[in-house]
């Protein structure tokens, strides 16, 4: 149903993709105790593209993007973001780099003790310190309108539905104009209609804010709507890298069973 509509959006976004790599990961390895989660992952994210990382639960997808922002320390391998080696950065350097990266958490991760407005102001006040209160208010209003929730300003996170929480969380992430977006299971736990709305928002963000994104998901509908390129991770390794069309035409039984 949405595939044809989405492919139109994808075709639009293809025009903005360049050969410039914004994230480069080489031979990334990460273990927890004796369990090897990422065995040898290498990938590139190009400027302006939506890269969907598909894979079964527990295949190490979330660990991969947490390593990019150094929420987790990789065991070995290199991660370059905007040309900087993430592992080599000190605390200040890492802080500066994180300002350019937006991270949408699986649970939304809205601050429970703050209203929606305070949630949105929180990163804005810390990342863009020179903004006046009027500019902050305008920016908050703009992103809330963008996610279609201008009326939720004074609500607490506990008063929001799952879909609304994801939208507000997305608004909080884009409010600081990040160059790279990392989405961790953006549609998990949502009904198909709300999932499609979130997927459309991901495409809107890509076009409006000119972001490059990694979208971690096992939701094929979301992948179909948002992907410019797809990587499939299996048992901690990149199993297949290609466009969605290449995936759909693949004769590989594993890929076929995943795309059913």
């Amino acid at each position: 149903m949405n595939t044809s509509q989405t492919k139109t959006i994808n075709n639009d976004s293809f025009e903005t993709i360049t050969d410039e790599s914004v994230i480069g990961i080489n031979n990334l390895k990460k273990s927890f105790g004796k369990q090897e989660v990422l065995k040898n992952v290498s990938l590139r994210l190009f400027k302006g593209e939506n890269l969907v990382v598909l894979g079964k639960s527990g295949s190490g997808k979330s660990v991969l993007i947490k390593c990019i922002v150094r929420l987790l320390e990789p065991d070995s391998g290199t991660i370059n973001v905007f040309g900087e080696d993430v592992s080599a950065l000190n605390r200040e350097g890492l802080g500066s780099l994180r300002k350019k990266i937006g991270f949408l958490f699986q649970s939304g991760a809205l601050y429970d003790s703050m209203t929606v407005q305070q949630n949105l102001e929180f990163p804005l006040r810390r990342i863009k310190k020179n903004l006046t209160q009027k500019e902050i208010d305008e920016k908050v209003k703009e992103v809330l309108e963008h996610v279609g929730l201008s009326g939720a300003l004074d609500k607490m996170p506990s008063q929001l539905s799952g879909g609304m929480r994801k939208r507000i969380s997305l608004a909080r992430t884009i409010v600081v104009d990040p160059g790279i977006m990392l989405y961790d299971e953006p549609t998990t736990g949502l009904d198909p209609v709300t999932s499609d709305e979130i997927s459309s928002l991901i495409n809107d963000v890509q076009l409006k804010y000119k972001t490059s994104s990694i979208i971690i998901t096992h939701d094929i509908a979301c992948a179909r709507m948002t992907a410019n390129r797809v990587i499939m991770v299996l048992d901690g390794e990149v199993y297949q890298d290609g466009t969605l069309d290449q995936f759909e035409k693949s004769t590989d039984s594993l890929i076929k069973s995943f795309l059913k």
């Binding site: 991270f103 601050y111 003790s113 810390r126 990342i127 600081v176």
Partner: protein, 283 residues
């Protein structure tokens, strides 16, 4: 065959010895692992303490969050501390009065109650109540923030979670718990006056004059100093347990529970050390 017979007879005994040796080995390994995990925990506490102290003196102090925590810890604990303080003084008076009457020393009751409350009962009982209310609140709040990835979200938005969450809470507890203790002391003395008036008739002014006639500055000083340490310990333990909670929802309950248990234990141990130091300095 004859030569081998004694050795064959020894085999069952050898098997028993081997079994015991294996059991002993397993127990030793388990003990070593326990000691190892204990030492790891001690090292983690030390590192967390160092990070907290370092962030306390860094730039960009989160003043508005500190004020919010002072309100949460101080103002929101007032009803509980009020009830505890009044009952503490009332019960102490009702229990002590018959003994003092027997010795004909009933006039010493206000002074005795005031000194007991200020030096020992007020700080320790209020701190234990605070360990239950404030420590568990911190453990549960930070634990649930950890589980729902809110602490990670803070970190990726270039905010130091130790500075924002831990430093503000520890400092607020360090400031507010001594104030709550002084407030509980005052209400305890008020409760004592109520207790005296159940079986007697003493004016408010006379009671307070008698109570504070025997109290000196050196009764207040060690109590206030140890109250500051109680506050810091309760705040630190609550934050540490919440911040280092595991990933599942079960760990939120564990964090809250262990924050109360460890916080209360720290208060008792710190009190014992404080009493020893005060005694040594003859305060």
């Amino acid at each position: 065959m004859k030569k081998l017979t004694p050795a064959i007879k020894l085999l069952p005994k050898l098997q028993v010895v081997t079994k015991h040796a294996i059991k002993l080995g397993e127990k030793t390994i388990a003990k070593t692992e326990n000691i190892g995990s204990f030492l790891t925990e001690v090292a983690n506490v030390f590192l967390f303490l160092v990070r907290t102290i370092k962030e306390t003196f860094s730039r960009d102090f989160e003043f508005s969050e500190f004020l919010r925590q002072c309100f949460q810890i101080g103002y929101k604990s007032l009803p509980l501390i009020s009830v505890t303080g009044i009952i503490m003084g009332l019960v102490l008076t009702i229990q002590s009065r018959p003994v003092l009457v027997n010795f004909g020393a009933v006039t010493m009751l206000p002074g005795m109650v005031a000194i007991s409350l200020i030096r020992e009962m007020g700080p320790v009982i209020t701190a234990l109540i605070c360990a239950g209310k404030i420590g568990s609140g911190m453990g549960a709040e930070l634990g649930s923030m950890k589980v729902t990835e809110q602490i990670d979200a803070m970190e990726v938005s270039s905010t130091n979670p130790i500075r924002f969450l831990v430093v503000t809470r520890v400092l607020a507890a360090t400031l507010m718990i001594p104030l709550l203790i002084l407030y509980a002391d005052a209400l305890g003395i008020l409760g004592s006056w109520v207790g005296v008036n159940i079986k007697g008739d003493v004016t408010f002014v006379l009671f307070f004059t008698q109570a504070f006639r025997d109290v000196t500055f050196m009764d207040f000083l060690p109590a206030v100093v140890k109250s500051i340490f109680f506050g810091a310990l309760i705040g630190f333990v609550g934050c540490y347990k919440g911040y280092t909670a595991g990933r599942g929802t079960e760990s939120v309950g564990v964090a809250a529970n262990s924050a109360v248990v460890l916080g209360s234990l720290c208060v008792i141990v710190a009190d014992m050390i404080a009493v020893q130091i005060t005694d040594m300095l003859l305060l």
